[in-house]
């Protein structure tokens, strides 16, 4: 019934890296390959996610280069995917399809990205412009929309309709920093208080600096195989029981209410059907919290909380590690970091470890069912993935 199984994972610490991107990716890919206990020549295909290389370091067509660096033989089918911040999940979708249909037996899926001013040599204002490249040039970039501000528009409307407050948003940041403090791979290891969040400077109202994920460098990788093949790898496989990719209209003005999460709602419904579960069955979730408001919107769109209830639920601690619905035990994009092409598969790395019970201090108890939620562009693309531990 599973569509594919994860048999190996690896990721770098997220932070600042000046090394070439192939070297950065190797630090995620080689551990993932080792974790699966396979040799390089067993890998049939390599799906690589990278978003900004063309604009930041004049590097496109990175897949064959990275493949050569990590020693994948030329017979390996290698390609790059770019779908903004959902890049890693789109690469994963294609990997799942490839092993599910038997087109390939073993697929390495991963991503690497350098977004920090130090990693790219590009200062913040210009990186803000490049980050905004997911927006429609004429109808979104021109009036001045940025990545933060599209989620800000949705969140402002959500606050207006449901009474969500800036304090609710701050509580998301506080919770994710708390989780991140237990994750040695997280970019931020320090806890934050609600006061610190509310005292930080505005980026795009209602979001303040501490409502926003950082610029990050990093890499992540997973090895996937078909459900049947998984047993033969001698490792503890975690099943991917569903993956759904849905789009929203562009530009954002044509996206429907409730605040532009229609594509997430469709993806969630579809993935729950694939996995034969409902939102009540989910034990742990990694959510695309690029901004605190994005987590609030997602929790409702995924059906984990009623519309309008995610803010209060967060304040009540229901999404903390010890709450009824632990969200972003990794620290999320907010505290773990968001090297955009690596984010999708990094969520899968975290959930694989959670479902194997290997997450240490931040382990969610009895985690059997998990979902990952990854958003790309100006709320244009969503991918929701369901994962399950074998009984």
């Amino acid at each position: 019934m599973a569509r594919a199984s994860v048999v190996g994972t690896g990721m770098t610490d997220f932070g600042v890296y000046t090394k070439p991107i192939a070297e950065l990716f190797a630090d995620a890919a080689l551990p993932a390959i080792d974790d699966a206990g396979i040799a390089n020549d067993e890998i049939d295909a390599f799906y690589f996610g990278n978003v900004l290389g063309g604009a930041t370091t004049n590097e496109t067509h990175l897949a064959p280069q990275v493949a050569s660096y990590i020693g994948l033989t030329p017979e390996t089918s290698v390609q790059r995917y770019e779908d903004a911040c959902a890049t890693g999940s789109l690469a994963l979708k294609h990997g799942v399809r490839a092993v599910e249909t038997g087109d390939h037996d073993v697929v390495l899926v991963g991503g690497a990205e350098q977004c920090t001013p130090k990693g790219t040599g590009i200062e913040t204002s210009e990186m803000t412009r490049i980050f905004g490249s997911g927006a429609h040039k004429q109808y979104e970039q021109a009036p001045g929309m940025t990545t933060a501000s599209v989620f800000a528009l949705h969140t402002q409307r959500h606050m207006h309709e449901y009474g969500t407050t800036e304090k609710h948003l701050a509580e998301v940041a506080v919770k994710n920093h708390y989780h991140g403090s237990m994750n040695s791979r997280a970019q931020f290891s320090e806890e934050k208080t609600v006061e610190e969040v509310l005292d930080s400077p505005i980026i795009a109202s209602p979001f303040r600096l501490l409502d926003c994920c950082p610029f990050s460098d990093g890499a992540s990788a997973v090895v996937i195989v078909s459900e049947d093949a998984a047993e033969s790898y001698g490792v503890d496989p975690i099943d991917i029981t569903g993956i759904s990719h849905q789009a929203n209209p562009v530009p954002v003005a044509d996206q429907p209410n409730p605040p532009s999460t229609d594509m997430v709602r469709r993806a969630a419904q579809n993935v729950y059907e694939q996995a034969d579960i409902g939102p009540n069955d989910v034990d742990v979730a990694e959510i695309h919290d690029c901004f605190t408001g994005a987590e609030i919107l997602a929790l409702e769109a995924l059906g984990l909380f009623e519309d309008g209830q995610a803010g209060p639920a967060t304040t009540e601690g229901r999404t903390r590690l010890d709450g009824e619905m632990p969200i972003n035990p990794s620290g999320g994009l907010k505290a773990k970091g968001h090297p955009i092409g690596a984010t999708g598969t990094a969520q899968i790395v975290e959930l694989t470890e959670q479902l194997k019970g290997e997450s240490g201090d931040r382990q969610v108890e009895d985690a059997k069912q998990a979902i990952a939620h990854n958003v790309g562009g100006m709320t244009a693309t969503a991918v929701v993935t369901a994962m399950e531990a074998r009984a």
């Binding site: 913040t124 204002s125 210009e126 803000t128 412009r129 905004g132 040039k137 004429q138 109808y139 979104e140 970039q141 021109a142 009036p143 001045g144 929309m145 940025t146 933060a148 501000s149 800000a152 528009l153 949705h154 402002q156 409307r157 207006h160 400077p201 505005i202 980026i203 795009a204 109202s205 209602p206 209209p249 530009p251 954002v252 003005a253 044509d254 605040p259």
Partner: protein, 141 residues
């Protein structure tokens, strides 16, 4: 940029029939209208969805029977944000807003220095230019 869609095509006196006879509404024509103080959108004959920016087919149902319509110059704010960190050429401390103009919604820039809130009434006050593109500029009424 040559403007085949001229002032004569889009002024306020232009008949609805003349608008409907335009070929596909392009970005160039949309910008020319904006320069002349008009916001032109598209209405779908099939599902009646109205969009505020050019498309080759209905963004809601996919039907190709979309006809240019003039949108009202006044509208109300659906959502807004004040942006402090932006690409350098955009400045900082400005607002953008999703504005409901008749049956359509459009993303616009708010006049520098002004502040709008959700449900505020605003009026199209001209084009805002960034990187050779024009966007609708609104000011509070």
């Amino acid at each position: 940029m040559s403007k085949e869609f001229t002032r004569e095509d889009v002024n306020d006196e232009q008949s609805t029939e003349a608008l409907a006879e335009m070929d596909r509404l392009t970005h160039e024509k949309w910008e020319a209208a904006l320069e002349d103080g008009s916001l032109v959108g598209l209405e779908c004959e099939e599902c009646e969805y109205v969009t505020a920016t050019p498309n080759a087919a209905c963004v809601h149902c996919g039907d190709r029977s979309v006809s240019p319509v003039r949108l009202p110059k006044q509208g109300s704010v659906y959502s807004k944000t004040t942006i402090e960190v932006a690409p350098e050429a955009q400045g900082s401390g400005y607002q953008i807003a999703l504005v409901d103009v008749g049956d359509a919604r459009v993303l616009g820039r708010i006049t520098d220095g002004e502040r709008v809130d959700i449900d505020d009434e605003v009026e199209l006050s001209g084009p805002y230019e960034y990187d050779d593109d024009l966007a609708p500029l609104f000011e509070p009424i």
